[in-house]
């Protein structure tokens, strides 16, 4: 029972961070038909910016984190949209997918060559190890991650549903043409989505890397998880991405313990395949109208 609780908590914590990454991914797809193959690397980059700032520029932790966020918004939000997405979207989905593949390779190689190929310790944001609870030993980091991520998701939902801008972004995501007719500045809303994604991946980076160490290759697994979570949840819903993230996180943790660890990475994907076969619209998505 105790073990179960531990697994559940750590699964939820992982899941919550996955949800952050998956939400951003889903939003990008919804508003601008962007499939961002570099989403995993987007999580890796802010972490390394922070490390670089601390090592090369002698920043202390919090200023470095701030710089990381700023660079994230600039590079992964604004510049990504302007330089890559905008020119390519008119050619359809595929060229952009290929370009983001290129981008993910670039990010990985730049970090590997100019920073280090080795795993790096990321400074823990909160110190403290474990809390005993009913016979289980729960990691403080996990609890913090869970709280922060859940809070972020809740805030995000509030933002999207309750604020003017948030509702406009939702409208753009649901139906661009109608949104434009309603007088919404669609271009700006899309930009906000990219910035939001940049912020989300940045937060995910700050939560994940203290636990899992920062490597240039951390993005590979994460990107996969983001896609899986987004699909499990049904590509068209943010809520779905959240649910998807939690399911993947929990499933991964439980598999590692109860099933062979060698096949751990396969679980999210097998989940994916099962979902596609039996419920193609994902768990929360709506069945799509036939297009062909």
């Amino acid at each position: 029972m105790a073990g179960l609780l531990q697994l559940l908590v750590s699964g939820l914590a992982t899941g919550a961070t996955y949800a952050l990454v998956a939400i951003g991914f889903t939003l990008l797809w919804q508003t601008s038909q962007t499939i961002n193959f570099a989403q995993g690397e987007f999580v890796m980059v802010p972490a390394f910016i922070v490390l670089a700032a601390m090592r090369f520029l002698d920043f202390s932790l919090w200023p470095a984190l701030a710089l990381g966020l700023f660079c994230s918004l600039l590079l992964l939000g604004f510049l990504f949209k302007r330089l890559l997405v905008d020119p390519l979207l008119k050619h359809g989905v595929l060229p952009l997918v290929i370009a983001t593949i290129g981008l993910s390779i670039l990010a990985k190689e730049v970090v590997k060559n100019y920073y280090s190929g080795e795993a790096q310790r990321f400074p823990a944001l909160i110190s403290g190890d474990t809390i005993p609870l009913g016979g289980a030993v729960l990691s403080v980091q996990d609890l913090i991650n869970l709280t922060v991520a859940v809070a972020a998701v809740a805030l995000l939902q509030l933002f999207l549903a309750r604020t003017e801008t948030g509702r406009r972004m939702q409208a753009t995501a649901q139906n661009r043409t109608v949104a434009a007719i309603l007088g919404i500045d669609v271009e700006r809303m899309i930009l906000y989505t990219f910035l939001l994604n940049a912020a989300l991946v940045c937060l995910a980076a700050y939560l994940i890397t203290p636990v899992y160490l920062a490597t240039y290759s951390i993005g590979e697994g994460l990107g996969l998880v983001a896609f899986t979570a987004a699909i499990v949840g049904g590509f068209n819903q943010v809520r779905g991405a959240i649910v998807g993230g939690f399911i993947v996180g929990i499933a991964e943790n439980f598999t590692a313990v109860y099933v062979s660890t060698q096949y751990r990475t396969a679980v999210p994907l097998l989940l994916l395949v099962a979902i596609i076969l039996f419920r193609p619209q994902g768990l929360l998505g709506r069945a799509e109208e036939r297009t062909t």
């Binding site: 390519l88 060229p95 390779i105 193609p280």
Partner: protein
Amino acid sequence: MTGLRLWGYVAAAGVLVALIVLPQSLKPYGIALLSRWAVMAIAAVGLNLTLGYAGQISLAQAAFLGIGAYTTAILTTNGYPFWSALLLAGGLGFGVGWLLGYPALRVQHHYLAFVTLAFMTMAYLVFRNEAWLTGGVFGINRIPRPSFFGWSTAKPLTYYYVCLGALMIVLAGAWWMIRSPWGRAFVALRENPRRAMSLGVDIRSYTLLAFAFGAALGCIAGVFFAPLVEFVDPSSFTLADSLGLLLMVVVGGSGYFFGPLLGAMVAVLLPEWLRMTQGLYLICYAVLVMVLMVFCPSGIFGLFDKAVRPFNRSAPLAIGKEARR
């Protein structure tokens, strides 16, 4: 025959002659490189079928490469003839491709990409973990080069001609397919799927078959890959390798007949040219890909196409060449 077409054929013939004659003056390393190009080109031609003609992203081509390679490695190191590996691998590729594609395409047209992603990961894990079959991380070595009618192909140059020959046969098959009603159906599906469907073109069947054949070609490439490198291990068959093959097709020009050959050439030779940059070739490659996409999403062949378009007001081109608007 129009002037342009004629030049096209002359150029192709010229390249073929070069490919036959040139390697005779190359060092073994250069020959190995060209052999590798030929093998990867086969896999890329298969992927082009899936991507360029049927419009599906497959992230599992390296998995099929691996299946072909391991099948050959296991069979030939246990005394079975090369032909058996070729037949088995080809059949496996087609079968697995069909099995993967059938449910995925039935459900939604763009889900095949994710199913291939799942398959790629599973395949890699199986290669790595199931040591009783694949040798695990240690792989299988001392893979013999085949003999045809008593002629050994152990020498680099001889095996190169085997690979080149295989590539030519594959290209001939692809050419036949493009010229057949299938080729017409693919063009129609790519240009206007709605209209094509209303004319009876079953998009699911064609896409599925394109994917299955593409997978089979991936396996066949693997069959020639194993004896070339004489040692296989899981590290050659990762998601990154699948992405590399994808890039080959797109950089060369997705949907163009010779696109994958050009893309494979770039991918195989670029590390050599950029040797002096020491491992930065990937960065250069990544930047090249992104820039190419921004300025010419239809790849290098797309660039050619745009350049010669003003001169090409003749009768409709061979379906294989004229692929993009």
